[in-house]
């Protein structure tokens, strides 16, 4: 079986589902507008294209939130997306917001600093959500969600997420189909939280590789040993399985200690779209 083939999608039908999803899930709560953080990477660019298509560019606010070490290319790519989609935009430098905190903790690791920056961006996103009267749109893809490769309450925070069921390689296919510039699709994915950071460097494997494995484990319900029999390196399989397990908490709301007969979380189970 050629697993790469299984990850191919029909962009037309996928786009239709995602655009209708965005439109409906906002409209039902009385929102016609949306806001999102646009990094200039492929995920947020695709989210921006889809949201602009669903709501009209004039109803979408893209926030560019650079830090002093952010590569200038990111802002340039974000500006191209803004031009192509006709969305409104605002640039807010987060350096003066996060630096005072960093100064209090001189020995902060890259990961801690990166988390602070991701959460600062979330604060700006949610604050502008109120001001713009639009819901925050997510940009986390299925690969990131499964690997837990994101900051909880940071870049993982949103009200609705059109990309959460698309693997990274599928995000690239969709991005190409909707017209995201090729330079954005081709460049090495990076959270750009510290100089020289790349997703694939940090993870230790490529998205092309891991998407195939995740597809077998998650979508096709392969046992790890079956994935190994299908040709994946045992060490790689173990690493990925372990990552999925260790990050389960990131994919769930905080757990509630049950003491009453009916509690929020276990048995107070209403649909989110209740009455809409």
């Amino acid at each position: 079986m050629d697993i790469t083939q299984r990850l191919l999608l029909n962009a037309g039908v996928t786009r239709r589902v995602l655009v209708a999803f965005l439109r409906r899930e906002l409209e039902r709560f009385g929102f016609r507008k949306a806001v999102l953080n646009l990094s200039g990477g492929v995920d947020s660019s695709l989210s921006c294209f889809l949201t602009a298509e669903a709501l009209g560019g004039e109803n979408v606010l893209a926030l560019l939130l650079p830090y002093r070490t952010s590569v200038p290319e990111s802002a340039e790519h974000a500006r191209q997306v803004i031009g192509l989609t006709g969305v409104s935009s605002k640039t807010i430098d987060i350096t003066p917001m996060v630096e005072p905190y960093f100064e209090q903790f001189q020995q902060m690791s890259d990961v801690r600093r990166g988390n602070v920056m991701a959460r600062m961006r979330m604060i700006v996103l949610y604050d502008h959500s109120v001001q713009w009267e639009g819901l925050p749109i997510g940009t986390s893809n299925k690969t990131e969600l499964l690997l837990g490769y994101g900051t909880l309450f940071g870049d993982m925070a949103s009200a609705v997420n059109p990309l959460g069921d698309l693997y990274k390689t599928q995000v690239r296919q969709m991005a190409r189909a909707v017209g995201v510039p090729e330079a954005i699709i081709q460049k090495a994915p990076s959270a750009d939280l510290w100089v020289g950071q790349t997703d694939e460097g940090e993870l230790g494997f490529t998205y092309a590789e891991v998407d195939k494995l995740l597809y077998l484990l998650v979508d096709e319900r392969y046992k790890p040993e079956e994935a190994i029999a299908a040709g994946f390196d045992p060490k790689f399989v173990e690493t990925v399985v372990q990552r999925i397990r260790a990050s389960q908490f990131k994919r769930m709301p905080p757990i509630v200690a049950k003491v009453s007969r009916r509690d929020v979380g276990h048995d107070f189970l209403y649909p989110r779209d209740w009455g809409t």
């Binding site: 039908v13 239709r16 209708a20 999803f21 209740w274 009455g275």
Partner: protein, 291 residues
């Protein structure tokens, strides 16, 4: 020549609002009236929406005219026969996913969904009770059978209705779209179309499928309602993902002609099936006691 003008109302109900959904039904009925529809079908849980969870008891009604929504639909059924979906509460406070067939101010038939999917994204058995019968019923258009969504993923359900005399199957669903591939159709749509076409072909019945559209809690419902003739051919199909009213005229005489060419119903051996199933069930009873 016996003609039946049917309508499939591919709607997007409001989740948990019976009153608004009733209005939606009445609007579609008016629209169908203008097109001289004689039988109008709505999707599964058309009066309530699908992802109900703990809302189930709050949107439930008895399958009687004492339920205000049903009373209004009974009045509307003076002008055309109606099939719609709702949450039914029985006298002992059990809740079912039900479908009611109304005609000329009467409740002719109520089907309680038998197979409640409780796997993957589905959790119906957590909230609902299961129906316990498959029964065909007589109408002014002949003998019909109704199934709801997961019911018709079980080959025995349409078969049972066929054996009970149904020449037209009315299948209603709230089928969530899923399964990406390079094909321009979602995997779930492809499968449902395939099985409905298969039923039409194997049973030499008309098979009507009314699916809903819209989005609830991240699930998309794909529409694409279909009508297959007793020769297995597609008569008409509604668009994917969009609200619509599909109207088609069925030539019910086609059933006779197809069955002359292909007498599958005449040659069917339900008695043989019954004997064999009885044997298998007896043996599996023995086998499970021995384990």
């Amino acid at each position: 020549m016996l003609k039946l003008r049917v309508g499939l109302a591919q709607i997007s109900p409001i989740l948990g609002s019976v009153q608004e959904n009733l209005q939606l039904h009445l609007e579609r009925i008016e629209e169908a009236k203008e097109q001289q529809v004689q039988l109008l079908c709505f999707p599964e849980l058309s009066l309530t929406g699908y992802v109900l969870k703990d809302l189930v008891p709050y949107v439930a009604m008895t399958a009687t005219e004492s339920a205000p929504a049903i009373a209004e639909l009974l009045t509307a059924s003076e002008s055309m026969d109606l099939l719609f979906g709702f949450i039914e509460e029985d006298k002992r406070h059990r809740y079912y996913i039900s479908a009611a067939y109304l005609s000329q101010g009467r409740i002719v038939h109520v089907h309680r969904k038998v197979y409640l999917p409780t796997y993957g994204m589905f959790e119906e058995e957590r909230y609902l009770a299961t129906g316990d019968r498959f029964r065909a019923f007589d109408t002014r258009f002949g003998r019909l059978g109704v199934l709801v969504c997961e019911d018709f993923w079980h080959i025995s359900a349409p078969y049972a209705l066929w054996m009970d005399g149904a020449d037209v199957l009315l299948l209603i669903s709230a089928s969530p779209g899923r399964g990406l591939s390079p094909e321009a159709v979602l995997g779930s749509s492809r499968s449902v179309e395939l099985i409905n076409q298969m039923y039409a072909t194997f049973l030499t019945d008309f098979v009507l499928h009314c699916n809903r559209v819209g989005v609830e809690d991240g699930l998309n419902f794909w529409g694409g309602s279909t009508i297959f003739g007793p020769d297995g051919r597609l008569v008409a199909q509604a668009p994917y993902f969009e609200e619509s009213l599909l109207v088609a005229e069925l030539d019910l005489g086609a059933t006779r002609r197809v069955r002359m060419q292909l007498p599958l119903l005449r040659d069917e051996r339900p008695d043989l099936l019954y004997t064999e199933l009885r044997r298998m069930l007896r043996q599996s009873g023995v086998a499970s006691r021995e384990q």
